[in-house]
């Protein structure tokens, strides 16, 4: 099973399957970005596995010429955990949707993050159930009118970034389907992270929730709405960097101010490696319901032992103590305890 890394191109990662998303779906852009990015990983195709749940987004693995499993609704993080923990040699990616990850599979997502399993988890958030034709999802805004909520949804949404941070995620990032460069930069950072990397990708469902992220894409609005996070850089944004993020003394969270109105030293310098998750959490709370002040980029990236490594270490340590062959040790195990002979 040994393999020598070879130089691959985006083409090598395209499978022979016809892509079946609706024309114009944001998933196409994510797929293209991924196919463009994978050669960079420097890992051979056979060492890469995509595991997905169910949803439009979860069709993703079929279109990549790697190993892939399209599993069942919400369970991809669990299945990928079993794979990752037993096969540390693989690069394991999870592709999931907002319904898949946060509704039916919420439990598996938070536990994968808590354990820090070495998985790259890509949540395609279109704020809607695409595959089942347009019901509201756990990320749909309160009052959302859909087929299942003709009078408006009555439940408040999750903030996936806040949720992941609350679940002890060691790497949390957000990016947007339409910005290939940014998307690839986030994929790169996620791939480099040891442990669970959680990436929320805003994805347009042009059929059931078209334009959900338009304010973040429209040249008219995007500069004032998007906050690009750069590790080590002061957090400023706007066409002319006229806005900035500060931590007012005595306040619990972060706030947005006019750059001209604050002392330069008051501007928060982004540090994704802050051990205390409260900082990244505060960042995640910046946007209002209208998406104004949406940070994108890496919120948090901290080192923490991975579940896989701890488990493998335990097994390896135990195996190092094997006195004889597995068969001999098995015979000892079976013969252990109080035994007696009948002659």
């Amino acid at each position: 099973m040994s393999s020598v890394p070879v130089q691959l191109s985006a083409k090598d990662f395209k499978s022979d399957q016809e892509v079946r998303w609706c024309p114009g779906c944001g998933d196409y852009a994510i797929l293209a970005a991924m196919q463009g990015f994978l050669p960079e990983l420097g890992i051979n195709r056979e060492k890469i596995v995509f595991v997905s749940g169910i949803g439009c987004s979860s069709r993703f693995p079929y279109y990549l010429n790697t190993y892939g499993m399209h599993s069942i609704h919400g369970r991809a993080p669990a299945i990928a955990t079993g794979l990752s923990v037993s096969r540390p040699d693989l690069s394991v990616w999870v592709v999931t949707g907002d319904g898949d990850a946060l509704s039916i599979g919420g439990n598996h997502l938070i536990h994968a993050l808590r354990r820090n399993v070495n998985l790259k988890i890509l949540l395609f958030n279109n704020k809607i159930y695409g595959l089942t034709k347009g019901q509201y999802s756990p990320t749909s805004e309160l009052g959302k009118i859909t087929k299942s909520t003709p009078y408006g949804s009555a439940d408040s949404p999750f903030n996936p970034i806040s949720l992941a941070l609350g679940a002890e995620a060691s790497f949390v990032a957000r990016t947007i389907d339409s910005d290939r460069k940014h998307l690839q930069s986030v994929l790169r950072a996620a791939a480099e992270h040891e442990g669970s990397a959680f990436v929320e990708i805003y994805q347009n469902c042009n059929i059931f929730n078209d334009g959900a992220f338009d304010v973040l894409k429209d040249p008219e609005t995007r500069d004032a709405y998007l906050i690009g996070l750069q590790h080590g850089e002061p957090i400023t944004f706007g066409k002319d960097r006229e806005w900035c993020v500060v931590h007012p003394p005595g306040a619990f969270g972060l706030e947005v101010r006019r750059t001209s109105e604050v002392d330069e030293r008051e501007i928060v310098v982004h540090d994704a490696t802050v051990a205390e998750p409260a900082y990244a959490f505060a960042l995640s709370r910046l946007p209002g319901g209208d998406l104004r002040h949406t940070p994108i980029g890496v919120f948090r990236s901290v080192g923490r032992p991975t579940y896989d490594a701890i488990v493998q270490e335990q097994v390896a340590t135990a195996q190092a103590k094997l006195g004889g062959t597995a068969e001999e040790e098995l015979a000892n195990l079976l013969n252990a305890g109080d035994t007696w002979s009948i002659d």
């Binding site: 079929y62 399209h70 955990t81 079993g82 195996q319 013969n335 109080d338 007696w340």
Partner: protein
């Protein structure tokens, strides 16, 4: 004066006390001593459902029954000949199981007014004549233990706690058990506290000499060793047997074992046991729920490990969708269901075999899986290996149905020779199997109908699989009606094709007209009942199914050879319904769902009726 020694062929003792009294340990030690002696044994613990029920109450009673004999026995015994009751609650909770004439040894120190009131005794049953039909031995167990340990530097509480060792010493004397192993055990158990080693040994010895000197016990008993197969034995519970079988399967398959499990009674012990055996390459993941546990096992199988998930009925319900996925992916997955009384939470500590229908049919769509069941604690080891053999050879989910009765019960297990265990090695796909170097993930082995197991990491075999219907051979997504029909039939054929051993029939007379057919843990009681009938000159044939899907090839012929077929089950007739439906056999279903195993005497009475009326 040396006391008279009387020979017995078999004895059933039940140790009963408060959960804090150490009855399980006492029973375990007595069993171990008995095993050393070469008696055949069968044991059954009975734990309270609550972890810490209030002391001295009926729900707090814990007991351990051990049956030992100079011949080979099949069950822990229908009813105890001897009850050791450490308090009034233990007496009250167990008295109804005692036949008249049985012996009762009671700890009189605990028969205080307060304790009697707690369990609703107005007067002490020791004084009101209500125990007149039993042989009662009142023994001041607690105070004698405390007295014996007066010089020991331990607290009064610790001294009182040693009373179970006093009781064990007394019983060990009474039944002439060797006790070196118990003393050794105590030295190990309390190694960190030498004062407790000394105290417990002293309590044991005090109990032993009390037996020897007291007028209360006029005779001492002996049970001669049983004539068993030669070889080395150890006493084993069903859960330990399953765990060791899974370890052995991993070794024989030369595959890492990955267990995904979520704690649930009565299956948790398998997780506990497997967690100890990392040196065999066993990884255990305590998952967030049963769905994840199954997913973890399946993900591991996909990666080339032997994926296993262990649970009880409620957990199987949760795993159902993942089992379906494994079946579509055609990957090995071993699912162990240690059945308990259901539905819902039911009676978690009580036994039942009512998950057969769920195992056979509990999935959406046409979703057959292999189903097997061990028959006794010692059989669990082989059954686990057989489950893994089928899963690995045929790349299918296998459901193994154990139950609470064999999970916690124990019996001597003839230790296998590792080299004689089945060779479970499998070959992973390493080369493309189609034209032009194409890999066809659903191109099957014509013999087993298994598809190639192409694990990630293998160059050139990159492929995508999933729960959507597959096109035969290529594995591409397909909505073609004819293909779906073909694939559904193929998945059915995959299970039907599994080779399983024929079912054996036991009928020493060769004349029987009635066949009793069982599966799972009813083997012991059914077997004992059949022996009982035969000893009384009646003919009866017994057959017991290990394989429930597929059924043995000779079953139809076996069923056809008898005038009447009786199927006793701890459910409302699930196997009976299957047999009627499949073979049109007019079976007599005998059913009980009381959370308890059948007693062999009730089965014998029922079977006798049937045999006499053919």
């Amino acid at each position: 004066m040396a006391k008279e020694t009387q020979q017995l062929d078999r004895v059933v003792i039940r140790f009963a006390g408060d959960s804090g009294d150490g009855m399980q340990l006492t029973g375990d030690r007595f069993t171990s001593e008995t095993a050393q002696l070469g008696n055949d044994i069968s044991t059954l613990p009975n734990f309270p459902a609550e972890i810490r029920a209030p002391a001295g109450t009926l729900p707090g009673v814990s007991s351990f029954q051990v049956h030992f004999a100079d011949f080979d026995i099949l069950t822990p015994g229908d009813a105890p000949n001897v009850l050791v009751a450490m308090n009034p609650a233990a007496l009250k909770a167990n008295l109804t199981d005692l036949p008249r004439g049985a012996t009762i040894i009671v700890n009189t120190d605990e028969f205080t007014k307060r304790n009697l009131v707690k369990v609703g005794y107005e007067k002490s049953p020791l004084d009101d004549g209500s125990l007149a039909s039993y042989h009662v031995h009142p023994v001041a167990l607690t105070s004698m233990t405390v007295g014996a340990l007066a010089d020991h530097p331990i607290s009064k509480k610790d001294a009182e706690r040693a009373k179970n060792m006093f009781a064990l010493g007394m019983l060990s004397w009474l039944y002439s058990r060797p006790h070196a192993s118990t003393l050794e055990f105590l030295r190990k158990k309390f190694a960190a506290r030498p004062e407790l080693v000394a105290a417990n040994i002293a309590a044991f010895e005090a109990g032993w000499s009390f037996g020897e000197t007291t007028e209360a016990f006029a005779v001492r008993y002996e049970v001669k060793p049983a004539r068993m197969h030669t070889g080395r034995y150890r006493n084993i519970t069903g859960n330990t047997g399953l765990a060791l079988g899974l370890v052995a399967a991993g070794v024989r398959a030369k595959l890492p074992v990955v267990l995904g499990a979520y704690p649930i009674t009565p299956a948790s012990d398998i997780l506990h046991e497997l967690s100890k055996h990392k040196k065999f390459g066993v990884t255990t993941v305590q998952a967030e729920d049963e769905i994840a546990a199954a997913g973890i096992a399946l993900g591991a199988s996909y990666g080339g490990s032997l994926g296993i998930t262990t649970t009880s009925g409620p957990g199987v319900a949760l795993k159902s969708e993942t089992i379906s996925l494994a079946l579509m992916l055609e990957l090995p997955l071993v699912v162990i269901d240690v059945q308990r009384a259901g539905p819902s939470t039911g009676m978690p500590t009580k036994t039942e075999q009512a998950d057969l229908n769920m195992a056979l049919y509990g999935r959406h769509g046409e979703a057959p899986v292999a189903v097997i069941a061990p028959r006794s604690p010692a059989d669990c080891f082989d059954a686990a290996i057989e489950a893994c053999r089928i899963a690995l050879t045929y790349r299918t989910p296998v459901l193994l149905l154990s139950d609470g009765y064999i999970a916690n019960g124990s019996e001597p297990w003839l230790l296998p020779v590792v080299e004689d265990l089945p060779d479970l090695r499998v070959e992973f796909a390493s080369e493309p199997n189609g034209e032009d170097g194409k890999f066809l993930p659903y191109l099957r082995d014509p013999e087993t109908l298994a598809r190639p197991w192409a694990v990630p990491g293998t160059p050139g075999l990159e492929h995508r699989i999933g729960g959507l219907e597959k096109k035969d051979i290529t594995g591409d997504i397909s909505y073609d009606p004819a293909n779906h029909d073909f694939m559904v039939r193929t998945r059915a054929a995959r299970i039907e094709r599994i080779r399983v051993e024929d079912v054996a029939v036991e009928d020493p007379s060769g004349q029987a007209k009635v066949l009793v057919l069982g599966w799972g843990s009813t083997f012991g009681p059914i077997g004992a009942a059949c022996r009982d009938l035969r000893q009384r000159g009646l003919n009866i044939a017994q057959a017991h199914l290990r394989h429930l899907n597929p059924l043995p090839a000779n079953l139809s012929q076996v069923l056809g050879a008898y005038d009447k077929v009786v199927i006793p089950e701890m459910n409302l007739g699930q196997l009976a319904q299957l047999i009627r439906g499949r073979f049109g056999t007019d079976v007599i279903a005998y059913n009980q769902v009381r959370g308890l195993p059948f007693t062999s005497s009730e089965l014998a009475a029922m079977l006798e009726e049937v045999v006499k009326n053919v």
